[in-house]
């Protein structure tokens, strides 16, 4: 499996080349177009219970779609729902990424996805919910974001502070704590940041340049109310 990003920027698409017999799993609904040699299968990753738990717990799609080059090599075009950049990551079996629930777009066959329970404080305050995706294994992983993707590289013990709703993914060697944006609670709330995540290296943190929640609030004022 080889991938390339088409139209990088706000409205990208990924072209995935598959050799005969190869598969790629993608978020359901992500396929835009494909060669006639590609078959689409709906597959519940991790079995029915795994899929159910992922659906119930992390709010991810119940089914992934599996695209299989069953009748010869071919290509698949994939695109996310929201406007925003796409990033390709290579997993080699040791590195693992924690991905917020909307961040997964597609992954090679060897990529393993599980939902993971966060600690209570992180779940309650982190803004990502109690469950996030833990993605490991081997092969290419394709993540999508809302806005542009920015990569923050952290050396051992280096720290960085991120507004939690801008998080996309981070490596599992990176730790983080939730804290108030300012020293006082009032200042934290009035600054519009509220709670932030303090990440500590080593590792990589991917953030998105737009906040989906804030965008939703902003756009709501322009939606005519029926009745």
């Amino acid at each position: 499996m080889k991938s390339e990003i088409l139209y990088p920027g706000a409205f990208p698409m990924v072209r995935v080349y598959l050799n005969e017999g190869e598969t790629v799993k993608a978020e359901s609904g992500a396929m835009v177009a494909a060669s006639p040699t590609i078959d689409i299968e709906s597959k519940m990753e991790g079995g029915f219970l795994g899929a159910l738990s992922r659906k119930m717990l992390s709010g991810e799609k119940f089914f992934f779609q599996t695209l299989r080059a069953s009748r010869g090599a071919g290509e698949v075009l994939l695109a996310p729902t929201v406007p925003g950049e796409i990033v390709l990551l290579d997993l080699d079996g040791v590195n693992e990424y924690m991905v917020q629930k909307d961040g997964f777009l597609a992954g090679a066959e060897g990529v393993k996805i599980e939902s993971k329970m966060q600690s209570l404080t992180r779940g309650l305050l982190g803004g990502e919910g109690f469950f996030i995706l833990k993605i490991g294994g081997t092969g290419q992983l394709i993540l999508n974001s809302f806005g542009a993707i920015h990569k923050i590289e952290l050396k051992p013990n280096e720290e960085y502070i991120v507004d939690n709703s801008h998080l996309v993914a981070w490596t599992s060697t990176t730790t983080y704590n939730i804290e108030k944006a300012s020293s006082g609670w009032i200042a934290s709330l009035t600054s519009g940041e509220g709670l932030v995540c303090r990440f500590r290296g080593p590792g990589v943190v991917y953030i998105q340049s737009r906040n989906p929640g804030s965008f939703g609030n902003w756009i709501r004022q322009f939606i005519p109310v029926s009745e």
Binding site: V94, L120, P156, T175
Partner: protein, 377 residues
């Protein structure tokens, strides 16, 4: 041969996400070999030259560091087998360090579990409190619902129900029921309700009361009764359900438990839907045993206060339960047990003996008028 990576190495000049490498543990240290096109060079590190701690997002990785200044290298080991091998081989001097690291992991997991456990405990505790202590909470809540609100709710359901039924507007049956109601309501001290009683043409042997004082008596019940006192007994029981606000208690209780469930599942729409659905179910509301007993006891007292022979209700229940249990709706909402009859009789015996005043109507002609109105249809 290119071994599979089992660790990540961090440091100056290495990728920020870590350089994959292959680590093997030997008797006096570990060997790190680069994997793939890595800027790393193979390196052997003695146990004496390294420091160890727990790290990673869940504190489940073993972090090995060595070197100083710009050449500091940090290894993250995640593979459980590799960590076990390391702990076996490491000398006792370093062992204390490793064990402290392991202890950190255990503590982190323990506090993680304890937190989740207490969170689940709080939710379950709240649920149990609502389930068992609900009566007190419900009574407290119901006492704070204004009567107007209760009447509005009852009236909506009442009008809704009557619009689908044939309601007797006048005639001997209606005046008889009105007379009974007036005699009883006149004796209720500080009555906040304006009772409205309708007679509905139906073979169903039942009567029910809605919150706010809306009472429905079916003609089926009146035809089965052998005297006006028997009907008055059932009516008195229903009026007392209203006076004791049993309907509201039931409603709040059902809403309360459903609300907890809805909140647990995060189902907001379901919560709103439940509230709407309950409005219609009010008519077929089943009261709890304690509420039935309360309505029985206060019902009998009210009959006595209104100088209506109070044994009519017991007679009616007993006679019907002997004969046709099946076809009588009344028993589905008011199951008649020996214990209940016993309680009723005991209450009756405790009341001061007094002469009762008969009704102005003749029961036989009331019943005849019911049959006549059905023939007209």
């Amino acid at each position: 041969m290119n071994p599979t990576p089992n660790a990540l190495c961090f440091g100056d000049g290495l990728p920020a996400a870590g350089a994959p490498c292959h680590v093997t543990v030997s008797a006096d240290g570990l060997t790190m070999a680069p994997v793939g096109n890595s800027p790393l060079v193979e390196e052997a590190i003695a146990f004496t030259a390294m420091s160890v701690e727990a790290g990673g997002l869940d504190h489940d990785q073993l972090v090995v560091s060595w070197g100083a200044g710009a050449s500091v290298r940090t290894l993250y080991l995640k593979d459980p087998a590799l960590i076990i091998a390391f702990r076996r081989a490491a000398p006792s001097a370093l062992m204390a360090h490793v064990e402290r690291a392991a202890e950190q992991v255990r503590r982190a997991r323990h506090s993680h579990r304890a937190l989740w456990g207490s969170a689940v405990g709080v939710v379950v505790g709240l649920g149990l409190m609502l389930w068992f202590g609900s009566d007190l909470i419900v009574e407290w809540a119901v006492a704070r619902i204004p009567v107007q609100w209760e009447q509005k709710l009852g009236e909506t359901v009442y009008q809704d129900f009557l619009s689908k039924e044939t309601v007797l507007k006048d005639g001997p049956a209606v005046s008889a029921v009105q007379e009974m109601t007036q005699r009883m309501t006149a004796k209720i001290p500080n009555n906040p309700y304006t009772f409205q009683v309708s007679v509905v043409q139906s073979p169903v042997v039942n009567a029910f009361a809605l919150p706010g004082g809306y009472v429905v008596v079916f003609t089926g019940l009146m035809k089965k009764a052998e005297s006006g006192e028997e009907v008055a007994g059932v009516l008195s029981h229903e009026l007392n359900h209203v006076l004791q606000r049993h309907g509201m208690e039931r409603l709040v209780k059902m809403m309360g438990l459903a609300a907890v469930v809805s909140i647990l599942v995060g189902d907001q729409q379901g919560l709103i839907g439940l509230a709407r659905q309950l409005g219609l179910e009010l008519a077929t509301l089943k009261f709890g045993r304690e509420q039935e007993t309360e309505a029985d006891v206060t019902g009998i007292r009210l009959l006595a206060d209104a100088r209506i022979a109070p044994d009519g209700m017991i007679r009616f229940f007993e006679r019907l339960s002997e004969k046709d249990k099946e076809g009588v709706e009344l028993f589905s909402t008011h199951p008649m047990s020996a214990a209940r009859a016993g309680r009723l009789k005991a209450e009756l015996a405790a009341l001061p003996k007094q002469t009762s005043e008969p009704f102005t109507f003749e029961w036989k002609s009331v019943q005849d008028s019911l049959s006549a109105s059905e023939l007209k249809k």
